[in-house]
Amino acid sequence: MANNDYENKPLNTEDIDEKRIAREDFVSEDRSDALDDEARIKVLSPTMLVMKRFFRNKLAIAGLIIIASMFLFSFVGGLISPYGEKQTFFKEEEMMKDYASGSFNREYKFDFKTEMDFSTDARAKFVLALNQGNTTFENGDESYFIESVSDKYHRISKLAPVAENVLRIGDDLIYSPVNDYEFTEELENAIIDTMKQHKNHFAFDGRTYVISSQGRMSAISVADDVAIASMMVYDAYDKDTSFNYEFKKNAETAFNTEEADTFTANGVTYRFEKIADSKNIEYIIYKVDDGGEKEYALASNFIVTPSMQDMFLDIEFKKALKEAALAKDKTFTAKNEQGEDTEFTIYPKDNEYQVKNMQITKVLKSYERPSMKHWLGTDRNGMDLLTRLMYGGRVSLIIGFIVITIEIIIGVILGGVAGYFSGWIDNLIMRIVDIFNCIPSLPLIIIIGSVMDQRKVPNDERIMWLMVIMGILGWPGIARMVRGQILSLREQEFMIAAEATGLTPTRRIFKHLVPNVIPQLIVLATMGLGGIILTESTLSFLGIGVKFPYASWGNIINDVSEIHVLKNYWFVWIPAGFLILITVMGFNFIGDGLRDAFDPKMKR
């Protein structure tokens, strides 16, 4: 190793010192060089001297390597990484999820011509009337008539009065028609017959008439079918099939009358088949057209609802579920929506049968262990941790540099002015320094952060404020150092020369004094960078500094405040903490090395 720096020898005590140190440090150095050896005469610039001394320091080299790799990691790594800062990852997971639920129907299903004719209120009143055994009920201004075809099928009609004050005397009928309703002789006879039999309704000419008694007199109304109430549940074989009022009404009528096994509705002919056993009755309805018969609908007392809207469950599934429910099975196999055979599990609850199966769902890949795809695993939000660390490093380093720049600018200007002018200006500035030194910065940043939280300041603006506040609170140390140095520097001859050439004070301070402080400034700045990164990460850890979705080493560790993360997922927070530690340490090593290199006397 060439060790030439002590040959740079103007007659200066500092350099003689330097020479001695170098000799002491390298006793084993080859001493055969003659005085006129070319290598010994080589002159090194002061910068080179500093560099040489710096590179001789192992710790400083270590620091330099750490910081260089941190920069590579954060700035280049972010570019190389295939993932983005805010990219979240999902995985598909098999989970027991609700698929459908089935139950034996115990409630009436209503079908009606239009909503207007039969409102929800009317439905409730119908059920009430039915339970009380009434055949008529009122809702609002309308009165309704219930015709119970069977105990599970009722026809509901709206009544329109046709005659009032009806009185039967023998075979004669006295009445006053309403709205000039036309009464034929056959109709009158039908009324008389009905009244004789003490029935309250009859069918005539395709319409149903209802006789209601009003004291001694009676009233006659004509009933218009508006709705049916049935316990039957209709399921379609085809996804696009829906059943209207007329279809259901005609079907029900056909089921109950059992005169024929066909009926027509909406101009189409249907045929049905009854399947009955001890417990329940089902009807399979076929659509009959020129091409023959096709399964069209299934009417049963078992109701199946899918857990998701717009999911179609086919008849086979429903049948399978019903059989399983009747047999009290725990599981059954049926085709799922995609037509694959799937095993379903039944969870019976009261009258209901919850059906669940294993389904594939998309979930956030949170806290995934390190793998080839994610070298350091993923965090709570399913983001790639390695990538987050890279971007977090960017944020930390950028914040560090910006804050230190602000501090240096303020510190150099104020420190320089104070040191140069002395007197009352110096006094004033130093008191300001004292004041700022006393302001507790961490608590102040915390309270300002909490105000920003409450005011919902956007995240990027927040980072900016954070930097400004840290910069404004951090400069006193630099100002003090600059002032101290300048106080001694300004007494030197070169300043007298500068004054003699008539330079302005500004030029004298910033061109001639400040450059002489740069070594100390660099040392202070390097060490300060470490401190700023520490403060920033602490604030981010507390949730006051850099906030999600922006990454920062501090807020990555923040996940650990949940105990289960601390216990189970070391990869979430240890790497981030380690990066903070070695980065700050790297800056401190460099700062230390630089100080020793700039000022070799200190090292002794």
């Binding site: 008191r431 006393c438 608590p443 102040l444 909490s450 501090g554 240890i574 340490m585 230390d592």
Partner: protein
Amino acid sequence: MWKFILKRVLLSIFILLFVTLIIYTIMRFIPTSYVDAMAREMSMKPGALSFQDLRKQLNSVYGLDDPVLIGYFKWLSHAIRGNFGDTWYYTGTVTKKFADVIWNSFFLGAVAFFFQIIIAIPLGILSARKQYSKTDYAVTVVALIGISLPTFFFATLLKLVLSVKLGWLDLYGSVGKFHNQLSTWGKFMDIISHNLMPIMTLVIVNIGSLMRYTRTNMLEVLNADYIRTARAKGLSESKVINKHAFRNTLIPIVTILGGTIPGLFSGAMITETLFKIEGIGRISYDAMVHGDIPFTMFYLSFLAMLTLLGTLIADIMYAIVDPRVRIS
């Protein structure tokens, strides 16, 4: 000497006035909407004053409706008499809450401070005596690691190792669940085991700077001429180190340490928060996060006062030790 002290004290009071003025101004610049929102939130709590009363109380203590300067003097006149108002986040007055928790913080800080001293000073002296040896490098690296360690990271590491993996200590709390049922000795051990991790954290994180300061000073002393003279006289190395070097090293160290004593009252915000210890640091942190302005004002002024007191003590001690300071 007395003149010097008086001068420094007056200067400190002057600075304190300005610092509190700045703190007050910053608090005043917090938007009123925030203050109102917070006051409203506080008034919702059971047993709290009504919103109007709270606002009125704030006005009387903090002079919120007056111009900044007048408001400041209004606040100051109350503060000097020790009236900092009621806390919003806790119950009772600010000063009562402060009195409840301050000693927890002080004891934690004092024990940590003691360990710092008995670890850092011998190690610093050792590394100075064996400059550039492996020991020196090891001490330097350990010191720098201590300086560079984020408190929260080290505390979490301790938790992981000592309580999660080994299960020796509780994760947090200053005493255990069954503290009151223990015997005297049990209580004592309970307190020790619960404060072990916080103290370790504080010691490790703060040890670095003291260690390096000791080393630098010891190196300076060891290179002084009187040490060379002592050695030339033929004194034994232990005598040189213990009698001549060590005593002289102690002068700046004791000065610095004297200056840090008031800091023991300031509380370790992060450590206390992480280990859920009821100290001034954690209490203030919670108060600040929840926008408890009266408590925050108090805590900030208190911290400023402690900093000033520390500098004052260091200055005075310096002047006692080194008469040259008094003259300049």
